[in-house]
């Protein structure tokens, strides 16, 4: 696999793109300096969110970038689709709530693996989920 740039985007429109998303995020978060367990956390969260795009919206895009502030560095992932949207984001963040026939562990599970998660969604317009993980120095 060729080196993953520090920022980029990947279309998600086929089931196999979930695998590509995982590999890309694994590479990008390893390059950002995360230790093995944190890499697994970030990749697992990305897998849930990429699958949500494929499952609920059919297609969308994943963006990644290394982020840095004065005193910390990390990675930011964004998952955007123009799908049906989430009517009640708070409810969707609850464990066990699902409209897709799953166990409702995707969104709340992913949230527990990252440091920050923002969900913007409008019914009929689409959903954008942004997550950030900071390196523990």
């Amino acid at each position: 696999m060729s080196p993953v740039p520090p920022a980029g985007e990947l279309p998600i429109k086929a089931e196999h793109d979930i695998v590509t998303a995982r590999r890309t995020v694994r590479e990008a978060s390893t390059q950002a300096g995360f230790a093995a367990t944190d890499v697994t956390r970030i990749v697992t969260a990305a897998s849930e969110l990429a699958r949500n795009i494929f499952k609920y919206a059919g297609e969308g895009v994943m963006r990644w970038r290394h982020v840095r502030t004065d005193n910390r560095s990390g990675i930011e992932l964004q998952f955007e689709d123009c799908g049906p949207g989430i009517a009640d984001v708070d409810l969707a963040m609850e464990d066990g709530y699902s409209t897709g026939g799953g166990l409702g562990q995707g969104l709340p599970g992913a949230r527990r693996l990252v440091d920050e998660m923002e969900v913007q969604s409008k019914v009929g317009v689409g959903t954008t989920v942004t997550v950030r993980k900071w390196r523990r120095n």
């Binding site: 695998v19 694994r26 697994t40 990749v43 849930e48 562990q105 995707g106 599970g109």
Partner: protein
């Protein structure tokens, strides 16, 4: 990189090895292949080796738990083998559970476990 599931029969045990990063179709195929092979060989136990697996998300965990449940219904037992530490930490933090599946550190230990009688489970009996 191979993405195929390996299914090997060893005496009355079915040894199934998952590839490192299987796609959803491969994971979904696990159930059908395993159950068909269990029936064909009359296997008493399924050893599912996930030592190579570096991402266990909710879909994968659910499929494994369901497969184990089906194996139980068929009269067999399931032993999960080789979960990487980072995967175990992540799955626990996410709140993923694999149900009442037996686990072992590696295939050697799993073969020892499979040779022992199955543990008594707490069953709910309705009268």
């Amino acid at each position: 990189m191979s993405t195929a599931i390996s299914v090997i029969k060893v005496r009355d045990i079915l040894l199934v090895t998952m590839p490192p990063d299987p796609d959803d179709s491969t994971i979904a195929a696990l159930q059908e292949r395993v159950l068909a092979a269990m029936e064909r060989h009359g296997s008493a136990a399924l050893i599912l080796d996930i030592a190579e697996v570096d991402t266990l998300d909710s879909f994968f965990a659910r499929t494994v738990a369901e497969t184990a449940q089906m194996v139980t219904l068929m009269g067999g037992r399931t032993i999960i083998v080789g979960m990487q530490p980072a995967v175990a930490i992540t799955a626990t933090q996410m709140g993923l559970t694999l149900g009442e599946i037996e686990t072992a550190l590696n295939v050697d230990r799993a073969l020892d476990v499979a040779a022992m009688p199955a543990p008594q489970k707490h069953r709910k009996v309705r009268r």
